[in-house]
């Protein structure tokens, strides 16, 4: 009895169920008036694809970032910069343990290490250009925080950082063995975290405010006048790459994109008329559906339903567009147990004015896999 009582209350079962119903009868957060995440109005990182979503120790992992710039004013170009030090196995796998000052001297962060991205290269730069010399690989706990502590605040970092939409790094050979053993984990693993910044300006080091808050980004995006840019002008991102000795994963495959059940010519894009209705909801909608083959719905050997049945990956799709309106930000394509979702389509409404835009279709699986389509939109 006690077990169920305790587990029930702590294990959010009822809470989540109540939350599901609560959307009907409880707290209301609808109608907030916020722009949808799918509406691209600024500099946005949409995804970063690793050629090996699950890397083996010692693997070289090649990364490719999908960046969109939905700004109306693109006077300052967007540059993607990579922090050339890969944070491996931070304390409790917390990303902020890589740079928060309290983890620099925290003995509890002994499972964290920092390695220069060995052989790290980017399309627009060279890892060898990395300015602030990071300590040697596997330099110990809270090393990134230690590095940051040695650099004067507001130092312009951009010249020293590798830049470009692609980047490569080599996974340390001991990344799995050096990770603290986690009881209950399906198998031993290691974690590498990479940080990057898509910035319409240059990057500067930002001092910590001393509040003790570990959630402080140590790098900021600044314009030529030394002012921090607006939110839409820069994004700080991270990518987690898990490593296993004996498990791998493939990125999902997108066979095609259909518009009202007809395959779209991805190069030509989608052409449609602008909306002439006075009310947006009366505009004609098209249905878009990415076609992801069932072969991409891989088995997940570490997942089961609690009754011994192996589950599969979850696969979902995120939509973004620079013009028009999408009916949903994201849709599920494959459930872990139920499989293919019958109606995964999303509705798209063209804008009221003619123009050119871009539709981004980003498909994720829940094991780090990602693939995308970039489709031109022609609104007549």
């Amino acid at each position: 009895m006690r077990i169920t009582r305790a587990l029930t209350k702590v294990a959010f079962a009822s809470v989540l169920a109540g939350a599901a119903l609560g959307s009907v009868v409880g707290t209301s957060a609808c109608g907030t008036g916020f722009d949808s995440v799918s509406k691209l109005q600024g500099v946005r990182i949409l995804a970063t694809k690793a050629d090996k979503p699950f890397a083996h120790p010692g693997d070289t992992v090649n990364l490719e970032m999908l960046v969109a710039d939905g700004r109306a004013d693109k006077t300052r170009p967007v540059t993607v910069s990579w922090i050339p030090a890969v944070c491996t196995n931070p304390k409790l796998d917390l990303y902020y343990a890589c740079f928060a000052p309290q983890y620099a001297s925290d003995g509890g962060a002994s499972d964290a290490s920092l390695a220069l991205s060995e052989g790290g290269t980017s399309a627009g730069g060279d890892a060898g250009d990395a300015g602030p010399q990071a300590p040697a690989a596997n330099s110990g706990a809270g090393a990134l925080a230690s590095i940051i502590a040695k650099i004067p605040p507001h130092t312009n970092l951009t010249p020293f950082l590798p830049q470009g939409n692609t980047y490569s790094f080599k996974v340390p050979a001991d990344i799995v063995s050096s990770h603290v053993v986690t009881p209950g984990a399906a198998r031993p693993y290691g974690l590498a975290i990479l940080f990057n910044y898509a910035c319409a300006g240059h990057l500067e080091l930002v001092p910590f405010d001393g509040s003790g808050n570990p959630l402080q980004i140590p790098i900021g995006c600044y314009d030529d006048f030394g002012a921090e840019v607006k939110v839409d002008d820069g994004v700080f991102g991270l990518l987690r790459v898990y490593s296993y000795a004996d498990v791998s994963n493939a990125n999902p495959v997108i066979d095609s994109l259909t518009q009202d059940d007809v395959a779209v010519d991805l190069k030509a894009g989608i052409t449609l008329d602008h909306c002439t209705e006075s009310r947006r909801r009366d505009c004609k909608k098209i249905k878009l559906t990415p076609v992801v083959p069932e072969a991409s719905w891989e088995q997940n050997p570490d997942s089961n339903d609690g009754q011994g049945n192996i589950q599969h990956e979850e696969i979902w799709v995120d939509y973004y567009s620079t013009i028009g309106d999408l009916g949903d930000d994201a849709r599920l394509l494959y459930d872990v147990g139920a499989g293919k979702i019958k109606k995964p389509e999303v509705e798209f409404q063209p804008p009221s004015d003619p123009g050119e835009g871009t539709l981004y279709v980003v498909v994720h699986d829940n094991r780090g896999g990602v693939e995308w389509l970039v489709v031109p939109l022609h609104v007549k």
Binding site: M1, R2, I3, A6, S14, L215, R240, G337
Partner: protein
């Protein structure tokens, strides 16, 4: 009368010289006995002539007054005071000497009485002489009496021809039976000091019993209010005959604070929808739960720190679907006892409060089966009860099923969700009771609850993309409970409750799951034994054994005070499958001491063992109450202190999700308060509490947490009368935690500084009743976010929250709820409708903060808007 004897015949008790040993003569209370002796200094009589000595003869004795001090000191035994009197030749008492002091004013009373004695002087051969004699006074405690009134609980109207039986405890033969007069008054006189058991029976009312301590020479004014057990009073014009309205704050016999809500109060509090446990949120010390939720946040403790029982058997779930409605419908309830802290040793394994829900005993007084049915927008319920033929058995069956799946399923499907099992819940209670006598009964009860839903959502949560897909929840429990009560004699009572049942949780979210199957077996045995006058011992065993099979696959939760490291469900999950058993035997013993009138001291000790921590928890507890006044208006001061341990939950001691080396959480609780009757129906009670928390288990770190909760609770109640009941409850409090050495002391999410609730319900007549509730509560704490970092692997923004957690408070909550009931009564049936309107003036109460996708913009998320609900009920 003292006999005249010659010295030669009998030196004793013959008259002697004053220093000789006297004889004794028994005399009744207030009278006296004298034995005369010849004074030593008298010359010996001449040998030849016989000497005839006649002792003094008592001419006048007004008797001795029973001393007031002895009444004050509650001397209950008879006392004899021996005196030596020197009586002169005129018969006047010249000197009085007490032979052995008895104290308590007896000596003074005896001397004073003796000095007023008038004797016919002693004579020797007919000549008056002085004499020294022994005299004694016997004092018996003066008789006492009980006067009182038997009244209807709802109308405060005297009940004529009620039968009052007064039996001396331990002396069954000493029984007095009286019938009340037309005004309900009654009186029993000539009682000797002691404890009396008073039983009142009146046709159409439930029998009421009471134990009264009667001191010597005192009068007890005892008003006994009777309730109609079947809630079917005869309708009178202008009077609402619906069930009795009562809010009781009984004098807690074993706790500092015990608050009792009965069925009518529960069902009529506006804004709760008549829900059983949500009614508790209107009491002091209980925080407001967000939205329609029903979390019990008691004195700053987490909801899981409060235990809920059904007639002494703990239950794993309190609400359907986390807060929609209680798992026991109000119609099946007799009462709810609520202990916000410093509870008796009979309860344990909890640092928060205790809620004990009592299921009503079946009624069969008119040998007919009665029932009711009720329906509202959420569910429908029924109840039937009555006798089982002429077997002497009574039964009650009740059940409830939700039907919002009818309208929720298409609503969910319209959003694109696949609904393979629409949300539905049901619960049930069935019991059979046999009353062997008024002292002995056996009850078997089966009760349970079941919630189920299975949904496949095709949308994806932007902040945690894996929070989508298949969501399944099945929670269920049942208990088969046996309860045996036997008042073996006036000094001994035995209560035994045993239960066996099953708990089931089957929850999945994507590829994460929690599956629990448990078979709890529990026993609670309590023996109440009166050891001496004013000394009762309660010894109990509280035993729980629950084999379980748990399989969990979930990411590790964040530690308290630690910001999340990313979307929760994207972290590598941990998996564990454990087959083990919870074993937590406990023993407790406490004394109820009533050393003097109006006082009650309850020292107690509870010892708990927890198998998962392999340790014993020793928990001394102490409660004291003192009535400062006798009779109306009562003033009571009270206080308590005690240790309360809460063993680690299985997940806290689990090797994967917790730490196997943890031991019990501990709280040390203090409470002082005062209760004051203002008028007959109005009482005010204030408590100051302080709860020190130690050895709190922090996820993954062990017993490193500390904390405290403190505050003041005030309750002003208008007890139910013919028309009205209501109260004002105000709590000012604080709840703080420190998640380990060196960590900041932070306020918890359970901290609500001010909680004010004012409610009342008034019977307008002609079957109408109108109620209102207004609440004014501090906003909840939250942790603001400002900006975000983008997680490129899952396509989600991670909020950058401020520090420390819970550093900002939402705006104050205020809300008015109204309720109107209308009842139509026929001779053998009743029909009622109600409308319950929450948030009448549609205030946008802030329950949280909503952020845009990258946490750079925010707006308040508001709770329920104006929300009317209606229901209908029929009763036979």
């Amino acid at each position: 009368m003292a006999p005249a004897v010659t010295r030669a015949q009998a030196p004793s008790p013959a008259p002697t010289a004053p220093d000789d040993n006297p004889g004794t003569t028994a005399v009744p209370r207030g009278a006296s006995g004298s034995i005369i002796t010849a004074p030593k200094d008298q010359p010996p009589p001449p040998p030849p002539a016989p000497v005839v000595v006649i002792p003094p003869t008592l001419k006048r004795d007004d008797g001795a007054e029973y001393p007031h001090q002895a009444i004050v000191d509650k001397i209950k035994e008879g006392v004899i005071v021996g005196l030596i009197l020197e009586v002169d030749a005129t018969g006047v008492v010249k000197k009085v000497t007490v032979e052995a002091a008895a104290g308590h004013g007896f000596d003074e009373a005896a001397v004073a009485a003796a000095q007023k004695l008038v004797f016919e002087p002693a004579t020797r051969n007919g000549k008056p002489i002085a004499a020294k004699i022994r005299h004694k006074y016997s004092f018996a405690p003066p008789p006492s009496r009980i006067v009182g009134k038997v009244a209807s609980d709802s109308k405060d109207k005297g009940i004529a021809r009620a039968i009052v039986t007064v039996t001396a405890n331990g002396k069954p033969g000493e029984k007095r039976t009286i019938t009340t007069d037309d005004s309900g008054a009654w009186k029993v006189e000539g009682l000797t000091a002691g404890t009396y058991h008073v039983t009142v029976q009146a046709q159409g009312y439930a029998t009421r019993e009471s134990d009264e301590e009667v001191d010597p020479g005192t009068e007890i004014d005892l008003t006994l209010r009777l309730t109609r057990p079947n809630q079917k009073p005869v309708a009178q014009p202008g009077d609402d005959p619906l069930e009795q309205v009562e809010v009781k704050v009984d004098r807690p016999p074993r706790e500092v604070v015990k608050r009792t809500l009965d069925q009518r109060e529960i069902s009529r509090i506006p804004g709760t929808g008549g829900d059983a446990l949500k009614s508790l949120q209107n009491l002091p010390g209980v925080a407001r739960s967000p939205g329609l939720g029903g979390l019990l946040i008691v004195r700053g403790s987490a909801p899981q720190d409060t235990q809920v029982f059904i007639d002494g058997t703990a239950i794993p779930l309190v609400y359907h679907f986390g807060g929609l409605s209680s798992v026991v419908p109000t119609e099946s309830l007799d009462r709810i006892d609520f202990y916000p802290g410093n509870f008796s040793s009979q309860y344990g394994r909890a640092m928060g409060g205790i809620v004990d829900v009592g299921i009503k005993d079946p009624e069969a007084k008119d040998k007919k089966i009665h029932g009711l049915a009720q329906a509202d927008l959420i569910d429908a319920r029924m109840l039937a009860q009555g006798p089982i033929g002429d077997t002497g058995l009574k039964f009650l069956v009740a059940g409830r099923r939700s039907y919002f799946d009818v309208w929720l399923k298409p609503t969910l499907e319209a959003t694109g969700a696949g609904v393979s099992a629409a949300p539905v819940y049901y619960d049930y209670q069935a019991l059979v009771q046999k009353d062997f006598s008024s002292r002995q009964s056996l009850r078997l009860m089966l009760f349970g609850s079941d919630d189920n839903l299975k949904i496949l959502t095709s949308t994806v949560n932007g902040s945690d993309p894996q929070l989508g897909g298949g969501i399944g929840l099945h929670t269920a429990f049942w208990r088969l409970q046996a309860r045996y009560k036997n008042r073996i004699n006036d000094a001994t009572e035995l209560r035994v409750t045993g239960a066996v049942g099953q708990d089931t949780i089957d929850f999945n979210l994507g590829d994460n799951y929690l599956r629990v199957a448990s078979v709890p077996i529990s026993t609670r045995i309590e023996l109440a034994q009166k050891l001496a006058q004013g000394v009762t011992m309660n010894f109990g065993i509280d035993w729980l054994y629950a084999p379980y099979d748990v399989a969990v696959r979930f990411p590790p939760p964040s530690r308290p005070g630690e910001p999340p490291g990313g979307p929760f469900l994207t972290r590598p999950p941990l998996e564990t499958h454990v087959k083990d058993a919870t074993y937590t035997p406990a023993f407790y013993d406490e004394l109820e001491l009533t050393p003097w009138r109006g006082n009650r001291i309850v020292p107690g000790m509870r010892v708990d063992y927890a198998k998962n921590s392999k340790s014993w928890d020793l928990q001394p507890r102490f409660v004291v109450r003192q009535d400062l006044t006798t009779g109306f208006p009562r003033t009571t001061v009270k206080g308590g202190a005690g240790v309360y341990s809460q063993p680690p939950s299985p997940q806290q001691s689990d090797s994967v999700f917790g730490n196997p080396s943890v031991r019990s959480n501990r709280s040390t609780q203090y409470d002082v308060g005062v209760e004051q009757e203002i008028t007959r129906p109005v009482e005010i009670a204030t408590d100051v509490y302080y709860k020190q928390l130690d050895y709190l288990i922090v996820q993954g770190l062990g017993n490193v947490g500390t904390g405290r909760a403190y505050g003041i609770e005030t309750l002003i109640r208008w007890k139910p009368d013919k028309r009205f009941f209501g109260w004002l409850a105000y709590t000012i409090g604080r709840s703080e935690r420190r998640d380990g050495p060196g960590q900041p002391l932070r306020e918890t999410q359970y901290d609500q500084t001010h909680v004010l609730t004012v409610l009342g319900s008034y019977r307008l007549g002609w079957g109408f009743e109108f109620g209102a509730r207004f609440r004014l509560v501090s906003g909840n704490l939250y942790t603001p976010a400002n900006g975000s970092i983008y997680d490129e692997g899952v396509g989600a923004y991670l909020p950058l929250t401020s520090y420390p957690p819970n550093n900002t408070r939402l705006p104050m909550f205020h809300q008015l709820d109204l309720r109107v009931d209308k009842v139509w009564t026929a001779p053998n049936s009743k029909f009622s409708v109600y409308a319950d309107i929450q948030n009448v003036y549609n205030h946008g109460n802030v329950e949280g903060v909503s952020y845009n996708f990258n946490s750079t913009q925010s707006v308040y998320a508001t709770g329920i808007p104006i929300l009317p609900s209606i229901g209908v009920r029929g009763e036979l």
